[in-house]
């Protein structure tokens, strides 16, 4: 059965041009009433009156309307599908892997280029009535082209896609493709990736509807799989050390050179001999300068994306805090704590003396049992045992007793360098709740319930930490090592609020409002989230200047480009049906009709103008 339709429904808005023409004619007609010297003679004529508003279009109007109607009708691209006796129209969904491993070089070419060429060939095979959809899979799924019969558009969109420095997560894109396939019977799903089906993240049974094409086979890759910059708190950058993990993913031994530079100055070169699928760790000490750390593997392997890594070394400013407390013991404890840091400075005032100007010139504020009406204008603020009902750290009125540390977020920068927290029990702790802007870094438990002991996060562009432990009652002494380390780590983290942000490519990271995107880094959402799609050091425009983001791939799974997985073969699937409908596109005919009407209209207009 024949079926008519339109390929560009939004183009129907072009028919508004007809209304515009009508309005134009009415306006011109009103303006072109024939002026006569007097009407009193005409009013004596007993001729039938014409309704003034009645529109009596002439041939010129009808021709112009025909031109517009033909052009508008052509713009909506009407078509007629007629059965040809063959199979029904085909739909092709191409899922293209754009992760970092697709940048790997094969003897035939770069994996991504091979995959794209295959996709181009598949699209070229489609008939004019077939539809195609393009989905990319990197760290996230992205729809590059919704269902469209425009093959030229599909080819253009494919050309615009590039492989990114991000790990692979095929599952969301596969789920999207499968749901599209379920919604549109007969959809052929073509997956172009270097991953085996078993790493697709969906059930093998679902993959029966998928045509999985694995691109690439080489395992020739050595990559940097981890970089850790260890800087002692408040110490000179020269005291920093860098731990670099390098791994050979090939099944043959490799020799490589690791070259390091810091602050634009060459630092060190290390020759590394790596066994088959072996790894090595390199510790670099005493950097020659502070600033950008650049690590580079001098090796000719298939994947270059993981041959470089970046970091950042200081410089660190000595701790500079104002402590607002009534407790001389707490102030003294902080002074002792900072005394061990060269150049450290602690100023103490009582809460009654607090004014916003007091915090000016300091980088960190420690507020003991006190929350001022306005947030201190410092890089970071530590609220110690905040009072109940305050506006910053949600705190219940009833304090918890006998709270012991039961869990902590080992990945949080506050706890960096600590191999877990030694046992710690607090006689009394404020009943903190986790606010929307922060997360629980250290979690305690009492007999009644679990209580956050330390909450940290960023709000209003500043770092804020809330500590449940009343430090005035819990002396920061060496016999309370956990509390001591926690306080020190928190001060360091608070002071580091404007330092470079280290992220893994593809990982969404919350970021302060006011930070803009740059090439290779997207910033979107509310609250804003940053995603680095390219590894390297990015300088993002920010309200207060710039924000440095250090992005590294450092993903073993991505660097392992020659994955050997014992895959179970995919269930066989019937070949996709070929196109069954012959589509007649009326666009060209309509445009031709409009052209003919234009010529006739021009001729008529010329005759009238001549007359």
């Amino acid at each position: 059965m024949s079926a008519a339709g339109i390929a560009n429904p939004a183009g129907a808005l072009a028919f508004l041009a007809l209304a515009a023409l009508l309005v134009l004619y009415l306006r011109i007609r009103r303006r072109q009433a024939i002026p006569v010297a007097t009407l009193f003679l005409w009013r004596r004529v007993r001729a039938p009156l014409v309704e003034p508003r009645r529109f009596r279009p002439d041939a010129l109007f009808w021709l112009q309307a025909a031109i517009l109607a033909a052009l508008a009708a052509g713009y909506v691209r009407p078509y007629l599908d007629r059965p040809t006796g063959g199979a029904p129209a085909a739909r092709l969904l191409v899922l293209l892997d754009v992760s970092a491993s697709m940048q790997a070089r094969e003897p035939e070419g770069v994996r991504f280029d091979l995959a794209r060429a295959r996709a181009q060939r598949e699209i070229a095979r489609l008939s004019s009535s077939d539809e195609a959809m393009l989905v990319t899979a990197g760290a996230r799924a992205s729809v590059v082209l919704r269902w469209s019969t425009d093959r030229a558009l599909a080819r253009r969109r494919l050309e615009e896609v590039t492989a990114l420095d991000v790990p692979t997560d095929l599952a969301p894109a596969l789920e999207l493709a499968l749901s599209e396939g379920r919604a549109r019977a007969g959809t052929r799903i073509l997956v172009l990736t270097d991953l085996p089906p078993s790493e697709g993240g969906v059930a093998a049974a679902d993959l029966a509807a998928v045509e999985w094409t694995r691109i690439g086979h080489t395992d020739d890759n050595v990559g940097i799989i981890g970089v850790t910059v260890d800087e002692p708190p408040f110490a000179d950058p020269g005291a920093a050390s860098v731990l670099v993990l390098v791994r050979n993913f090939a099944r043959v031994p490799r020799r490589v050179v690791l070259a390091a530079g810091a602050g634009g100055t060459p630092w060190e070169r290390r020759d590394l001999t790596l066994g088959a699928r072996g790894s090595a760790s390199v510790t670099l000490r005493a950097p020659p300068a502070s600033g950008a750390l650049e690590l580079r593997l001098e090796v000719d392997d298939a994947l270059a994306a993981d041959d470089r890594a970046w970091g950042w070394i200081g410089p660190r400013e000595p701790v500079d805090a104002v402590v607002v407390t009534r407790s001389p013991a707490l102030a003294a404890a902080f002074e002792r704590l900072v005394a061990g840091v060269p150049g450290g400075r602690i100023a103490r005032i009582a809460p009654e003396e607090w004014t916003p100007a007091v915090a000016a010139g300091h980088r960190v504020a420690v507020l003991d049992g006190f929350v001022p009406p306005e947030e201190p204008d410092v890089a970071g603020t530590l609220y110690v045992a905040p009072p109940a009902g305050n506006a910053v750290c949600p705190t219940a009125a009833t304090a918890a007793a006998d709270v012991s540390v039961v869990d902590w977020d080992a990945d949080h920068p506050i706890l960096r360098g600590m191999d877990g927290l030694p046992p710690l029990t607090l006689a009394r702790a404020s009943a903190l709740a986790v606010p929307g802007w922060g997360r629980s870094v250290v979690l305690g438990g009492s007999r009644a319930a679990s209580v956050p002991i330390l909450v940290a996060g960023e709000t209003g562009g500043r770092r804020v930490a809330c500590l449940a432990a009343p430090l005035a009652e819990e002396p920061l002494a060496s016999d309370r090592l956990s509390l001591l380390l926690l306080a020190l780590g928190t001060l360091r983290w608070l002071d580091d609020g404007t330092g470079p942000l280290a992220v893994a490519t593809g990982d969404p990271v919350p970021i302060s409002p006011g930070v803009g995107a740059s090439a290779g880094v997207t910033v979107a959402g509310d609250p804003p989230v940053l995603i680095a799609e390219r590894a390297g050091i990015h300088r993002l425009p920010a309200a207060d200047g710039e924000r440095i983001v250090v992005a590294n791939l450092a993903d073993e799974r991505e660097s392992d480009i020659g994955r050997e997985v014992g895959d179970t073969p995919l269930p066989s699937r019937p070949p996709p049906p070929a196109s069954a409908l012959a589509r007649s596109d009326a666009t060209g005919w309509l445009f031709a009709l409009g052209l003919v009407a234009l010529v006739v209209e021009w001729g008529l207009w010329t005759r009238r103008a001549g007359a």
Partner: protein, 307 residues
């Protein structure tokens, strides 16, 4: 002369082009003036002059030089010769500069009216008569010039007439009446207009001029399309150029024929008005030769003569 030839003719607003009108004079029935001049005014015998017009009985104080001694010898009666008055006339050229004079667009009635007014004014100046221009503007305003008395003033008259650009609504009868109220006769009022207004309204103005001892010349300037609109009107939405009123009629052949009848009635009413008020009425079709109109139509009416 055909319209096309008339259109190609140089503008009569240029005084240098008016030399052909030398030797002509405007003879206006009833036209008179207070000052002596060269214009003979029959019916108003003077005690002195060149041409004997009448006699009357001698009364003490009459100039004995004008006593007709022959009559005394034959009739034994003392009769004194009376002479045809010779006066300087003042022509008030009232030019309609309303919006109606600019329609239909192709005819340019205003231009034809300006040229006609200029030609009449030049003839008057050449005969040592006075000329005063009065441009009848919209909303009852009138721009009246000072009197011009010599042929050299032709350029000034041309400038005053050329300044009339046309626009706005004009009640012609009221404008004529207002002019009569502000300027006493005797004189000659030359009304150059399309006269496309109610005859009753126009009559009020003409009678007001007559009451102030003006002889009146009604010089109508019409467009060909106003007499026969069949060639210019394609559809029937008509707009009054002065009031902006709209009148939409179906222009059938019957309607056009009826319009022509209505126009003929209007022209006949104008002629009747002229007869009633002792005025002179002439009609110039815009696009035809103004010179031919003066030396042809107006000469036949006795308005223009050789000196």
């Amino acid at each position: 002369m055909s319209m096309r030839a008339a259109a190609a003719e140089p503008s009569l607003l240029d005084p240098a082009r008016l030399a052909r009108f030398h030797g002509l004079v405007l003879r206006v029935p009833g036209g008179a003036g207070e000052q002596g001049g060269q214009q003979r005014v029959p019916g108003r015998a003077d005690a002195a002059g060149l041409e004997v017009e009448a006699y009357r009985s001698y009364t003490p104080g009459d100039d004995l030089r004008h006593l007709d001694w022959n009559a005394l010898g034959r009739l034994d009666a003392l009769l004194v010769r009376r002479f045809t008055a010779e006066r300087r006339l003042t022509f008030h050229i009232l030019l309609d500069a309303s919006a109606s004079m600019r329609v239909p667009a192709g005819a340019d009635k205003l231009r034809a009216a300006q040229e006609l007014a200029m030609a009449l004014g030049f003839i008057a100046l050449a005969a040592n008569d006075g000329v005063r221009t009065a441009i009848l503007l919209a909303d009852g305003r009138t721009r009246v010039s000072r009197p011009h008395r010599h042929r050299q003033a032709a350029a000034a008259v041309a400038g005053e007439l050329a300044d009339a650009t046309g626009g706005g609504a004009l009640g012609l009868g009221a404008a004529l009446a207002a002019h009569a109220a502000q300027h006493a006769g005797p004189g000659v009022a030359v009304v150059v207009s399309d006269l496309m207004s109610e005859v009753a309204d126009l009559e009020r103005g003409v009678r007001a001029l007559r009451a102030r001892r003006f002889a009146v010349i009604l010089a109508q300037v019409v467009a060909p399309g106003e007499l026969d609109p069949g060639r210019t009107l394609r559809h029937g939405v008509l707009r009054d150029a002065e009031s902006d009123d709209v009148h939409a009629i179906r222009l059938t052949r019957a309607a056009l024929a009826e319009y022509r009848t209505v126009v003929e009635e209007h022209l006949a009413a104008l002629r009747a008005l002229a007869a009633r008020t002792g005025s002179v009425y002439g009609r110039l079709v815009a696009g035809t030769s103004v010179a031919d109109f003066i030396t042809g139509d107006l000469a036949r009416l006795g308005l223009v003569r050789r000196r």
